[in-house]
């Protein structure tokens, strides 16, 4: 599961915090800092309100409540959160970071996040600040654009006719083709590695364009580790991007947001810091025949859409934090693709920092998912909690995982579990069937608790599950289906399903991974050092391929799940992970914090509770001062009242055991265990 964190970052101890607080008091006493009149929260890819008003001479506090970096930059360059914090204009604010910006001049300030909106702030993650008593009229909604379903026949060539991609895009009309040749071999296009690249960010506001490279491997948009995005499509429907490479941005490689209709084909994303190929708050899309590596969050990302109506097919993600991340993205189809050597593989998840939680009705089918337990891939701290899982469903509903080949994962092939964001999201109704699984360290199939009803497992032939015998006690039944992915009935599927079959140990193990990242045990790899891939297959037909705006993409794709089969194992794929020993579901040998939290958070409390029940029933059996009725009543109370029945009897039921033993067992042991758990949480940076 992916756990969001709050509070100070690692390295800021109590002493430092107190010193900073004392310094703040002193500074406050000696200066006239402007009053913070309003707080603007930065959620994941939107500011929490469109318009904020303050008086002249007041200040605004910007607070990042998301799980990825953001910033706020005035479109006219008057201010930015980076500069207000003493840094550079485009500096990013990490999650939980706050920056106060004072405003002495009245006016209307339009501002944007450089990772998630175009620089003119007309769309995407942008908002308005009104300072002082000035006239301001919020703009109304624009009339919808007329849909363009065919190429206009106009080709705008870069660099032959337009010196930059941006120049061509700005000149284009809806339905045009922007055709990009390799960058000229002149010094201004020369990159550090000797390649000739476009050193720009393409901001696309014109709908229904097709942006096409003439050569997937030689047409390169390079962020030079300075610019946030390579190709940035914001609120422009129907844009297709094809046959080119984007690398070295500080944020996203190729990005669509607030669009209906998008397509990314034959794209290569290399070492873009946060996300590779990315669609947010968008519907009706397709990522196909594309490759992404070297991103700290995810190679491929679809977020905040329901229904997304999105397909990922024939894509490769390797050496990323996550191969796929899909916060609050429902009705996404991830099929026939390769996910390998990432920190974790395919991770649909639910976050409160985005709209539309939880995710649901995702289909993951026909994928080759292997070796997603890399300690060499770059990852944000938060992503480490997902380490070592092929498929990880966290806090989502009605998702189908079927006919994948899932091999070599230090943790699990498939884990269904909860997600702690601002709310606690449990998983339910997820169906895991007919996957070929080998080489899982912790377990092939895991149902981490707490969980909702309806999660089921069938036909995966696992060698180990947590809890045990999941396919027997949490079978899917003949009508196994998931949300919108209903399939034909299969009478061979086991129908038996206990309503309570989850296990807490893996959940605590994930807490241990969060502690590892907070404690600094997590490997830290610079995404810029991720090795470049070999040349990738080009767009068939090249410059002469049909030009088709991204309209009705999902319906036009014609996905047929019945045609999807378990992919063959490549010859070089060798099963080389062995099972680690477990004690009560707690893994031995998967990291000290996982063991620590597994023992203190699961095994010890469970053993303590079991001892209370045993002591209570043993004491009741030994007593001769109670009648049959009282004994039966107390027994019922001990067993039926959740967690409190047994301690209540031991402390107040007149038990014959010595008083010191009863109080030590119930109160003393609980306090000591709580203290130890608290100390572990402090040690692991969780408190």
């Amino acid at each position: 599961m992916v756990w969001s964190r709050r509070g100070s970052g690692p390295g800021v101890g109590l002493g430092a915090a107190l010193a900073l607080a004392a310094l703040a008091v002193l500074v406050g006493a000696c200066s006239s800092a402007p009053e913070v009149a309003s707080t603007i929260d930065m959620e994941d890819n939107f500011f929490d309100r469109e318009v904020t008003r303050i008086a002249e001479g007041e200040a605004v506090r910007f607070r990042n409540r998301g799980v990825v970096p953001h910033n706020a930059i005035d479109v006219d360059g008057a201010w930015s959160t980076g500069e207000a914090a003493g840094g550079e204009r485009f500096d990013l604010m990490e999650p939980d970071e706050e920056v106060v910006v004072p405003f002495d001049e009245p006016g209307v300030y339009r501002f944007y996040c450089s990772l998630h909106a175009p620089p003119d702030g007309t769309s995407g993650m942008a908002a308005t600040l009104v300072v002082g008593d000035v006239d301001f009229q919020a703009a109304g909604d624009d009339a919808p654009e007329e849909q363009v379903t065919e190429w206009t026949g106009v080709t705008r060539r870069v660099p032959q006719e337009h010196p930059t991609i941006q120049n061509a895009v700005d000149a284009a009309d809806p339905g045009d083709l922007v055709l990009i040749a390799p960058a000229p071999e002149t010094p201004e296009y020369l990159a550090d590695d000797g390649r000739y690249v476009y050193k720009e960010q393409g901001d696309i506001a014109t709908p229904y364009l097709t942006i096409r490279g003439t050569d997937r491997n030689d047409v390169i948009v390079d962020g030079e580790h300075e610019r946030p995005i390579g190709i940035n499509t914001v609120a422009a429907d129907g844009v297709a991007v094809e046959n080119l490479t984007v690398r070295n941005t500080t944020g996203n490689g190729i990005y669509w947001t607030e669009v209906r209709g998008y397509r990314g084909s034959y794209l290569t994303s290399i070492n873009n810091a946060i996300y590779g190929i990315y669609a947010f708050d968008s519907t009706d899309g397709l990522f196909e025949h594309s490759y992404a590596s070297g991103s700290k969050d995810a190679g491929f990302y679809v977020g905040q859409c329901d229904p997304c109506d999105a397909v990922l097919t024939d894509v490769i993600a390797e050496n990323n934090g996550m191969g796929y991340s899909g916060p609050n993205a429902s009705e996404v189809f991830i099929v026939d693709s390769v996910w390998r050597h990432n920190v974790s593989g395919i991770v649909p998840n639910t976050l409160d920092s985005q709209r539309l939680p939880p995710f649901g009705r995702v289909t993951i089918a026909g994928n080759l998912i292997h070796d997603n337990d890399s300690r060499e891939a770059p990852a944000l701290g938060l992503q480490w909690s997902a380490f070592g899982n092929g498929v990880l469903l966290t806090g989502g509903m009605d998702t189908l995982v079927t006919r994948n080949r899932i091999v070599n994962h230090e943790r699990s092939a498939v884990t269904v579990g909860p997600n702690l964001s601002r709310n606690f999201w449990m998983s339910g109704g997820n169906v895991v069937t007919d996957n070929v699984i080998e080489g899982s360290g912790y377990a092939d199939l895991v149902l981490a608790g707490p969980a909702l009803t309806g999660n089921c497992f069938d036909g995966n032939t696992p060698s180990r599950t947590v809890p045990g015998a999941l396919e027997t006690t949490a079978g899917c039944g003949p009508d196994a289906a998931s949300g919108a992915q209903a399939g034909p009935a299969d009478p061979d599927r086991g129908a038996f399903r206990l309503p309570s079959r989850y296990h807490l140990a893996p959940t605590l193990s994930f807490v241990g991974l969060v502690a590892e990242s907070e404690f600094g045990v997590q490997p830290v790899n610079d995404h810029r050092d991720t090795p470049h891939p070999p040349d990738q297959p080009p767009l068939p037909g090249g410059v002469d391929a049909p030009v088709v705006p991204a309209v009705d993409v999902f319906a036009g794709f014609g996905l047929d799940l019945d045609d999807i089969e378990v992919p063959d194992a490549p010859a070089e794929l060798v099963v080389d992970r062995g099972s680690v020993p477990l004690v009560g579901g707690v893994p031995l040998g998967l990291g000290g914090f996982s063991l620590l939290f597994g023992v203190l958070g699961w095994l010890a409390p469970f053993a303590l509770f079991a001892s209370w029940v045993a002591l209570a029933l043993l004491d009741l059996a030994r007593r001769d001062d109670l009648g049959v009725g009282a004994t039966v009543a107390w027994t019922a109370g001990v067993l039926v009242i959740p967690f409190l029945g047994a301690p209540a009897y031991l402390l107040a039921g007149g038990a014959s055991l010595p008083r010191w033993l009863r109080w030590m067992s119930v109160v003393g042991a609980t306090l000591v265990l709580g203290l130890l758990l608290g100390m572990a949480a402090v040690l692991g940076g969780l408190l």
Partner: protein, 100 residues
């Protein structure tokens, strides 16, 4: 509702193991008492102990039900009550949608 869901679902998960632990504890205590009272030889006690400890669930429950020193009503309360309590909590969890 959410927190109650979690508590009830969690209880349904741990209750059967706690009940089993209690059955084993009571059975071993009873065996010990019977050896002390010379009702049972050491060899038989060791054999029964192995059955209680090694045969999952059925060993401890079976011993309680057949032991002549455990009153019938008490054995029925512990064994039957344990199973019924678990089923009852499971029923509640299923009704609340709180368990997987």
């Amino acid at each position: 509702m959410g927190a109650l869901q979690v508590v009830i679902g969690l209880y349904a998960t741990v209750l059967p193991f706690a009940v089993l632990a209690a059955w084993i504890a009571v059975a071993l205590w009873d065996l010990s008492s019977r050896v002390k009272g010379a009702e049972l030889g050491r060899g038989a006690a060791v054999g029964w102990s192995l059955v209680v400890l090694v045969v999952p669930v059925v060993g401890a429950a079976g011993y309680l039900l057949v032991s002549p020193s455990v009153p019938r009503w008490l054995a029925a309360t512990y064994v039957g009550g344990g199973v019924l309590a678990w089923l009852a909590v499971l029923g509640v969890t299923a009704g609340m949608g709180a368990a997987g």
